[in-house]
């Protein structure tokens, strides 16, 4: 029994023209999401997470140029369709949740009108069915008195409520795929846990594929089926959540895991692990490993050529010249006995 692939991307690259030259925002990125599966993309600011999601949604800024070998949604080729066709997929088969819900909610329309519009516009049914579906979903996302809320304007709602509205809106047409870009970063921790729970239960119920973008390793560990660690526009490690946290193989992943304090593991007041240096500029052509200036295990070979993905098993790969054994030998979980 194989679970169908919903989203398939192979060798996606995005270049952006900037005054200083060509910025390689995303380079040769491949990903696959199955039905009902959650793929977490994690990485630091500027590593290309948002550009990747905008590329998939066909919402890149005009100065950005996309190339890819494959990009398909439920088997339908996304590279070879017009924007008008793409527009009819967005909100219907693939939905996006942004960090700031106000980027998707229109301030001058009532919430209800906006939710219903998505449904009607995609030909799912009339006003009455749309209203019923909206009320149904609002209840699902834990909003009390849905009818009342639907007649309010976005600014009348708290951040947490707006984010729930966004989730409901994304689900109006029962999409096959949801891309959520830092959906809970703006929320308080209690609200974050509640919202993630909700997103997860709705996703499992509808068997939706989910790409969840975050910089929070706690969210990754608790939400992901599979993980992609990005660095400087590239995928540097992929694996299941357990593989990534128990046997991180790329020196960057290892560094990330060791630089956060973890209650019960890291000793209070002790020095945290750290990664020296800063992320490289992505402008111009760069040879060799993007992480070399910050890596403790750098060697001469890291400076030239293209560092390919080292595949350990299906879906498990890392982009480093060290062998998995060598690399794991270098890793000791900070604070672990």
């Amino acid at each position: 029994m194989t679970v169908p692939v919903v989203l398939n991307v192979e060798n996606l690259s995005v270049e952006i023209t900037v005054p200083a030259g060509t910025l390689h925002a995303v380079s040769n990125l491949s990903l696959k999401v199955h039905q009902g599966e959650t793929l977490c993309i994690v990485g630091e600011s500027g590593c290309g997470k948002s550009i990747t999601s905008l590329a998939i949604m066909n919402l890149l800024p005009s100065k950005a140029k996309l190339t890819a070998d494959t990009m398909s949604l439920e088997g339908r080729d996304l590279l070879d369709i017009r924007e008008s066709e793409f527009a009819s997929l967005r909100g219907d088969r693939i939905g996006m949740i942004f960090q700031d819900p106000m980027t998707s909610l229109n301030p001058v329309f009532r919430i209800g009108e906006q939710l219903e519009e998505v449904y009607i516009q995609h030909g799912k049914g009339g006003r009455k069915e749309a209203r019923e579906r909206a009320e149904f979903l609002l209840e699902k996302v834990g909003i009390i008195a849905p009818a009342e809320r639907l007649s309010q304007y976005p600014h009348q709602l708290s951040g947490g409520l707006r984010q729930r509205m966004m989730i409901a809106m994304t689900l109006m047409c029962d999409p096959a795929m949801i891309i959520a870009d830092e959906p809970t970063t703006a929320l308080d921790v209690t609200m974050q846990a509640q919202t993630l729970n909700l997103l997860r239960s709705l996703q499992k119920e509808c068997n939706t594929g989910l790409v969840l973008i975050t910089h929070d390793l706690g969210i990754v560990a608790r939400m992901a089926d599979r993980v992609m660690v990005m660095y400087a526009g590239r995928s540097v490690e992929t694996g299941t959540a357990v593989e990534i946290f128990e046997k991180p193989t790329h020196p960057y992943t290892q560094g990330l895991i060791n630089c956060i304090p973890v209650p019960g593991r890291t000793k209070p007041g002790s020095h945290l692990g750290s990664i020296r240096g800063i992320v490289p500029a992505l402008v111009g052509d760069i040879e060799g490993c993007m992480f070399r200036n910050r890596c403790d295990h750098v060697s001469e070979e890291c400076y030239s050529g293209e560092i390919g993905l080292n595949e350990i098993s299906e879906g498990r790969a890392y982009r480093c010249l060290l062998s998995p054994e060598e690399s794991l030998r270098n890793f000791k979980l900070k604070g672990a006995a």
């Binding site: 974050q192 846990a193 729970n197």
Partner: protein, 326 residues
């Protein structure tokens, strides 16, 4: 002999103390509406001992920054008083306050003037308070840049030429140049990537021991709080609802809100699922706070009493808890 006794640490007053501190803002909603009071901070009583790190936690809008501004002497309390080294803060000159307590803010991007060089930014407090000769000032800048790990070559750079972590180091150097004993950090690493955050947290720890500093540390990241803090103050809707030693709070939280906060922490352990949080979703409106205990509409353990009566803060010496269950 007498001197020795009075300078023993137990006899010194706390570095900072709040006595019944409150701050009310008058808010005008709409053109003709009457002004309404918004109690951003209410009846806060707490002490920060010398050399300690006090963490202040609580959800957005609960009054953390308002309290921090008062601790810095930047905002006047409308009730109660704040004692700095045992003296009422409003009896101390602005210059003297600045030599005792300094801030580090969240956003290293907007809190630095983009048109000033790093040197100008760091020594500005010295100029404002007319401290030192030109030579002294330059030496101090050099000293503190070294202490916070900023390379000397950056003295004449501008903020936009620095990374986020370097900018936060500039903000820390600017705070330290007045040689304060207390630093109030308002979300100092929230805008930073975790790899940069680790450097800044390590730096804050080092500076604390090297310079004998006391920190008031605001953060929404409870893992960071557990890592740094000696004591923790939990706020809800302007009120202090739990206060105690960090180790005690983390091992045995008593207020239902504190418990929910700690349950919400997502440690990076893939064998654990998401925590089930049973808090009600009725987020509070600070302009018309709930009756009784402010937390009762969301509290999973609320009783009729919580509805009716405001709980009194229970003080067991080691721990303060404001809840009818305790």
């Amino acid at each position: 002999m007498k001197d020795q006794i009075s300078s023993s640490p137990e006899k010194l007053p706390p570095a900072l103390e709040c006595r019944d501190v409150g701050r009310t803002f008058m808010i005008k909603r709409g053109m003709f509406a009457q002004k309404q009071p918004l109690k951003a901070v209410q009846d806060i009583n707490l002490k920060i001992n010398r050399g300690d790190v006090l963490a202040i936690v609580g959800e957005s809008g609960c009054g953390k920054t308002t309290l921090a501004q008062m601790l810095l002497g930047l905002l006047q309390p409308t009730n109660g008083e704040i004692l700095l080294d045992g003296q009422p803060i409003n009896s101390i000159s602005i210059k003297e306050i600045a030599t005792k307590v300094q801030p580090v803010f969240q956003d290293p991007y907007s809190s630095l003037n983009p048109r000033k060089t790093i040197e100008q930014i760091i020594l500005l407090p010295l100029i404002v308070h007319k401290i030192g000769t030109v030579k002294d000032r330059r030496e101090r800048v050099e000293k503190y840049m070294r202490l916070v790990g900023l390379p000397k070559r950056l003295v004449h750079s501008y903020p936009n030429q620095l990374s986020g972590g370097q900018r936060q180091r500039v903000a820390i150097a600017r705070a330290l140049i007045m040689e304060p004993k207390i630093v109030v950090c308002d979300e100092p690493t929230s805008a930073l990537d975790v790899s940069v955050q680790a450097h800044i947290l390590n730096l804050l720890q080092d500076l604390r021991t090297k310079l004998d500093l006391t920190y008031a540390f605001i953060s929404h990241d409870l893992a960071v709080v557990e890592h740094l803090a000696d004591s923790v103050a939990v706020m809800y809707l302007g009120r202090l609802i739990e206060f105690g030693k960090a180790a005690d709070i983390f091992s045995n939280p008593q207020h239902p809100y504190t418990r929910a906060l700690l349950d919400s922490v997502l440690t990076p352990d893939p064998s654990l699922g998401l925590p089930k949080i049973t808090l009600g979703k009725g987020l509070p409106n600070p302009l018309s706070p709930p009756s009784g205990c402010y937390f009762h509409p969301r509290c999973p353990e609320a009783t009729e009493e919580c509805h009716q009566h405001t709980p009194v803060l229970k003080d067991t010496g080691e721990r303060l808890v404001e809840c009818h269950l305790h």
